[in-house]
């Protein structure tokens, strides 16, 4: 087995909130971002063509929060085309619907300059950036996060996912049910808590920890096999002072999220043994209604169908198309600098990868999860070198430091 895979003992996933690939990484040259702004123009409601521009601001620009519920995302992807050909032409129209302000509606196409986001763009250029990682559903947070935890949203395309249906177990259940494997879901603190659908929190609070605990576990080398890290979802007071939301959900400060990503990276890199044996995936749950130019591909249908009433578009949805493209970066000292991965992934790839790597064959899993690609090759002698991202023979010593 390649030494990087041989050394790998821990997978950590940090899932941020509501930013598209082009919005965050579009300015990085040569990775599939905004290489041709003119080609990605959207018409506004006056018929004028508007181009994406590097004018995104850290806070106070995306007010109100861009609509990213199923009907709005449908408009963003299909642009209102009566023949329902996906064209990514409906972002400005969709944002206009919220305020009826033509000039303001253009801001949904704005993206950050590379120098604005030194943490995320450095990680994207230093390690492996996925330029075809899509949200699992063209819809909002909860159903998309459910794909990361369960490999399915149990037929929901909305935020009202309160209960799960057997037989599909969460990735945490699968691992803790197979000792000696271990797993933990780290929320920022109890005031931020979890965006998991409260199912696990109610029934298995022992799989949760705080971000303080995550940092201690990194320091002491007690990180579980699989960790899922949640950012802080709200501005609130704590015993240690003011906690600024760092999830990057509009209208939260994007720089606070940058600092949080660096904190997670530093916690792992600060322990040499852990750094050598951990892969960190940084990914966003969905695009948050913000522009991206890549048409989401079709995918294997899930075994559920959302009714026309549930979707709010007049059309049922068989979970056979992915959501809008989001930033995704895999970090490990065994990954060659500047790796660009153009295979298709979505959040079902997370439980698919973790399950295959730690548990091997496992069933039952949802049709979406079983057909999802994996970003770390399963353990075993027959590793396909073309697919293995942790491919270096010797661990890198030139990885960036953040301070």
């Amino acid at each position: 087995m390649p030494p990087g895979l041989d050394a790998l003992k821990h997978i950590v996933v940090l899932m941020m909130e509501n930013r598209s690939f082009d919005h965050m990484l579009g300015s990085v040259p040569g990775i599939g971002g905004i290489d041709d702004a003119e080609a990605y123009s959207n018409a506004d409601t006056t018929g004028a063509l508007v181009q994406p521009q590097a004018l995104a601001e850290f806070q106070s620009q995306l007010q109100p929060d861009p609509d990213h519920h199923f009907p709005a995302v449908d408009l963003q992807i299909f642009g209102g085309d009566p023949n329902r050909r996906a064209n990514m032409q409906g972002f400005v129209k969709s944002y206009y619907n919220q305020q009826q302000n033509v000039a303001h509606s253009h801001e949904i196409l704005y993206y950050f300059k590379q120098s604005d986001l030194p943490v995320l763009t450095t990680l994207a250029t230093e390690f492996a950036v996925f330029n075809r990682w899509f949200a699992s559903i063209p819809g909002p947070t909860i159903c998309n996060r459910a794909f990361a935890h369960y490999g399915t949203s149990f037929g929901r395309v909305d935020m009202n996912l309160l209960y799960i249906n057997e037989p599909f177990k969460s990735i945490y259940d699968r691992l803790v049910g197979a000792p000696p494997h271990t797993s933990k879901l780290y929320y920022y603190d109890t005031a931020s808590s979890t965006m998991e659908i409260t199912n696990l929190l109610q029934h298995q609070p022992e799989v949760f920890g705080t971000f303080d605990q995550f940092q201690k576990d990194c320091e002491t080398g007690n990180l579980p096999d699989y960790s899922f890290v949640e950012p802080n979802y709200s501005d609130h007071d704590s015993d240690t002072g003011e906690e600024v939301a760092n999830d990057q959900h509009p209208d939260h400060n994007v720089q606070a999220g940058e600092a949080f990503i660096a904190l997670v990276y530093n916690a792992i890199k600060g322990n040499a043994a852990l750094w050598a044996s951990t892969a960190l995936l940084i990914v966003y749950d969905e695009h948050g209604g913000i522009f991206d130019h890549v048409i989401p591909p079709l995918c294997t249908p899930d075994q559920f169908t959302a009714t026309a009433n549930d979707t709010g578009t007049g059309q049922p949805f068989a979970f056979d198309r992915l959501g809008v493209r989001v930033p995704a970066i895999l970090v490990s000292p065994w990954i060659p600098k500047g790796t660009i991965v153009s295979r298709v992934f979505d959040h079902a790839s997370i439980p698919a990868t973790v399950t295959k790597f730690f548990l091997g064959d496992y069933s039952p899993r949802s049709p979406r999860e079983t057909s999802a690609d994996v970003f770390i090759e399963p353990q075993g002698p027959a590793v396909d070198p073309a697919r293995n991202l942790l491919s270096l023979d010797v661990m890198r010593t030139d990885c960036p430091d953040f301070e």
């Binding site: 909130e17 005031a191 409260t198 609070p205 709200s234």
Partner: protein
């Protein structure tokens, strides 16, 4: 690769009075669903429909999250407590005999006192 400076978060980024987003509203709803299943003593006594700001949302979410953890911790502590030692069968039979003797004696004394024969 050199050292990358992490951007400083501006002080005015902090605003706990910011109105709750649609996402936080949903998180509050989910927490409320979970809270309904908690025994009363672990509940927050906050009316979730009256929550308007991020700071208020965070306080409610904190109380429910901690309530869930406490309820589970208490249940685990109860499970871990050693069970009361049960008396063996012979011991129980002996106790029953003693009680019967005592009752017989008491009856006899009552009869004596009442002068009945």
């Amino acid at each position: 690769m050199g050292v990358i400076r992490v951007p400083k978060v501006p002080h005015d980024a902090y605003n706990p009075n910011r109105p709750v987003s649609a996402l936080l509203k949903i998180q509050i709803e989910h927490m409320h669903e979970a809270e309904k299943r908690l025994p009363t003593r672990y509940r927050s006594e906050i009316y979730p429909n009256a929550i308007k700001t991020e700071g208020e949302a965070a306080e409610y979410i904190r109380l429910v999250t901690e309530g869930i953890h406490e309820a589970h911790a208490d249940a685990a502590a109860r499970r871990a407590k050693p069970a009361k030692k049960r008396k063996g069968v012979i011991e129980i039979a002996a106790v029953t005999d003693e009680r019967a003797e005592r009752q017989t004696g008491r009856k006899a004394r009552k009869i004596k006192k009442g002068g009945k024969n």
